[in-house]
Amino acid sequence: MESAELLEKPEKVSTDHFLLKILLKGREPVPGQFINIRIGRETDPLLRRPFSVFDWSDNRASIIIRIAGRGTSLLSELSPGPIDVIGPFGKGFTLAENKDVLLVGGGVGNAPLFFLARMLKERKCRITYVYGHRSKGHMFLTDVYRDLCHEFIPVTDDGSEGTRGYAGDIAGGIKRPGDYSHVYACGPHEMMKKTALAFSMKSRVEVSIERYFGCGTGLCSGCTIECADGLKRVCKDGPVFPGDNILWDRMV
């Protein structure tokens, strides 16, 4: 086991979402990569849980977890101290430089886009960000996102904050495909599919795919998806893929 340490008690940042700060000495990730956490030493919960990196600085990785079941619930209650973390793993986003870029995030899928936005800002990109979530109460840390962006567009399913609707529809509807050299998306299947279809003709689209992982290390073939150029393991060949390579309708 590689050493890692949970630095503080998980902090609740919105309804169902917690921020965890983990010391991961010398294991610098790139935006879009994930770390893989074993929740206890026993066999229940058994499998590791993958989380994309929300931010990284000074040997510290931050992640945002959404309470989805027993494993994530236990994680949100952890006390500071040693934690079994492997990674970072996977293929991350390509970083554009000095370009107009569009980021489209849905739900907890906004998490990796923060790290990405910060790196893109350092590379002098002008960022338009469509931040979608279920409601105002579910949105996390919007102020820190807003600070990085040239234009920040909040979207909620119920209209409790920003525009009412879905991030994929809003992005595809109000933005012209030719406006951006790069489009990055992470969120629900439909959101990423709509974004990829709307922008792939004129922009380089990259999407971060979420699948149920058995291992996160490429061993089990549990997260295989069908791409235009063959079968790919999301954990190893992704989670970031070119949007025009995904066969959306084959992903059930």
Partner: protein
Amino acid sequence: MAGLVDLSVKIGSLVIKNPVTAASGTAGYGEDLAGFTGLSRFGAIFTKGLSLEPRRGNRGNRILETPSGMLNSIGLENVGLKKFIDEKLPFLLKDGAVVIPNIAGHSEEENVELSRILSCTEGVSAIELNVSCPNVKEGGIAFGTDLKIFTSLLEKTRKAASCPLIVKLSPNVTDISLFAVRAGEIGADAVSAVNTFLGMKIDIKSRKPHFINKVAGLSGPAIRPLAVRAVFKIYEKVNIPIIGIGGIASLEDMIEFLMAGSSAVSIGTMNLVDPWCAEKLIDGLEKYMAEEKFGKISDITGLAHGM
């Protein structure tokens, strides 16, 4: 401590240097495991179930965690024989692995053909016949649950295979020892026991099975007592080595399997959780044997059966 104990195990004409192997389907083709544990450390690597042509595997959900276990419905996704021989096998051998391909054809003819070709491929130490995959429609589990079909397949495979032959048994039968005995009679060099148990998950929101194939294979610590019992029962009836598999997660678990009658073990689901698991077990076993004054693995195998 090294030198005091002999960890080697004999499977037919094959001698593996220690009894800890990686179970088929949890080690891919070695490439990804090699990043954690050197492949040469394992007694052997059982590679992902192979068919003649590449297989896409099952669509929809493939994995689900259960209490101390995991359901899988991968459906034997694999690269096919040609790519295995051309690309995967050379990597495994370069990293010093003892390679035992798992054969999972969908017909008797396909299994025979795979056995024939692989058993005379340089670098293949033995083959494991998969008669027990629960996740494919044709063949698969029927080969392992119908004694007549099992016998016919095994007789033909034995004739075709010129290397040690291991048969991976299905636990989804009333008496697994009948299949083990038959394997021994036909000339199999060892049996692997056990493959996954059939299980199901119903999604109460959609009111439908979670997996498109409906059933899935249950593995992990959840099945350990069931697997130990299967090994114990087989050991009473056969003389060929048993490779014990079923939720091994610790040194104690492994020793339990050896005492039940295993000559070697496979680490499966725990590779997915802790890719260093096998390495720790090998080191731990050597220490344990020295402390308990066991000189060789056969001193432990079957100890629980008493006099």
